[in-house]
């Protein structure tokens, strides 16, 4: 059954999307194993057990990441590396869902996991940026802010909090080295190839509204990844570029579509914060949330205008954005 395309948060849908993503991963891994034949050494019993575990249980996002490294190694005919990645997937596949975790980026120079996070989070061809392990004190302070933001989201929008927890298993905290020497500094990132993981910059998102907004922003990217498992949302050629509502550089239509949708989701979260009880959030934070919500609604409108003018959307892409438009219109009509 096709997933619901409604704009409002839905933890049950999120759980179903994770299940579907894992079924597609299992089918693809079984196919790759068959194609590999005698060229890779795959123990049939271990393979079957891993596929059953992936099918039945949520997995570490690095399992999906290893799958993408496996496919690329095969296509480059690097069979020793392909063997390593397949072995890693069989080792990592678990029958106990990994706990939600907030972790500092392991050093990509010495850690396989750190290198994978670095490469896959930083795979935007247009705007490469620098990711580095964060100083311990900054990472620790950021981890505290993340947990506080989730608790706050539990209070002001339990549905959004539940959906966030269903979609995101790993939050990776990192820094931008020597930001004064870079053209771009990242605030956060998500990637289809790291389904269930998000990256946050420890030096951004200082206030409570900014922190909640960043979490909801990256979670919304993951929601779109899950919704697009079986097909594209945007049909434009990937080399076309258009004005972005959120970034200073021109972006492919897929990026504009994502930015537009996540702006709507940020507005949703920030409206909830702005309307929170005084006991849940100080007046100063509610004021900032109100201002940021207005900015997010404006970003949605800018992005939607670009999509409306230049976008060629699949029926699924159209349905998802239509639902977001309806919600934003209601909010603007009320306020």
């Amino acid at each position: 059954m096709a997933p619901a395309t409604g704009f409002l948060p839905d933890a049950e849908r999120a759980t179903a999307l994770d299940h579907r993503m894992r079924q597609r991963l299992v089918a693809s891994l079984a196919y790759v194993a068959r194609q590999a034949g005698e060229h890779l050494d795959l123990n049939a019993v271990r393979l079957e057990r891993a596929l059953q575990r992936i099918s039945a249980t949520p997995q570490d996002p690095l399992v999906v990441g290893a799958y993408y490294e496996l496919v690329v190694a095969i296509e480059l005919d690097e069979l020793d590396r392909a063997q390593e990645f397949f072995d890693e997937i069989l080792d990592r596949a678990t029958d106990a869902a990994p706990p939600f975790c907030v972790l500092p980026l392991p050093d990509p120079a010495t850690s396989r996991d750190g290198r994978r996070f670095e490469q896959l989070f930083n795979s935007d061809a247009d705007a490469p940026f620098q990711i580095a392990p964060a100083p311990e004190a900054l990472a620790s302070a950021m981890a505290t802010r993340v947990h506080e933001a989730l608790t706050l989201l539990d209070q002001v929008s339990p549905e959004l909090a539940a959906e966030t927890r269903a979609l995101v298993r790993t939050i990776v905290l990192a820094a931008c080295p020597a930001p004064e020497d870079q053209e771009f500094v990242f605030d956060g990132a998500s990637a289809f190839s790291l389904w269930g993981a998000i990256l946050l910059n420890v030096e951004s998102h200082e206030s409570r509204p900014e922190m909640v907004s960043a979490l909801v922003h990256e979670t919304a990217h993951n929601l779109l990844f899950g919704l697009s498992t079986d097909g594209r949302l945007v049909l434009n050629a990937p080399d076309e570029r258009y004005d972005s509502p959120l970034r200073p550089d021109d972006r492919p239509m897929d990026g504009i579509y994502h930015a537009t949708f996540v702006s709507g989701r940020m507005a949703l979260a920030l409206e909830a914060l702005a309307n929170a009880e005084a006991t849940a959030l100080p007046a100063q934070d509610r004021e900032q949330a109100r201002a940021l919500a207005a900015e997010s609604r404006a970003a949605f409108a800018r992005g939607d205008a670009v999509v409306h003018r230049h976008g060629r959307l699949s029926p699924l892409g159209e349905a998802i954005l239509d639902s977001a438009r309806s919600w934003l219109k209601k909010v603007v009509d009320i306020s």
Binding site: S123, E183, G255
Partner: protein, 53 residues
């Protein structure tokens, strides 16, 4: 150029690879690879770096 791949994969049967047919030459450069597949490209939130005058 002769295709040297030992294991052949049909991209339509891979998770998320539903856009372009990509050649091994494209794959040698990760940025080239993801430029051809917008959906699989990461989605970073970026700001212009603040430079000290």
């Amino acid at each position: 150029m002769t295709d040297q791949r030992t294991i052949r994969l049909d991209w339509q049967r891979l998770l998320g690879f539903d856009q372009a047919e990509i050649t091994p030459a494209d794959l040698k450069d990760q940025r080239n690879r993801t430029a051809l597949m917008a959906k699989l490209s990461s989605k970073p939130g970026l700001a212009k770096a603040k430079r000290t005058p």
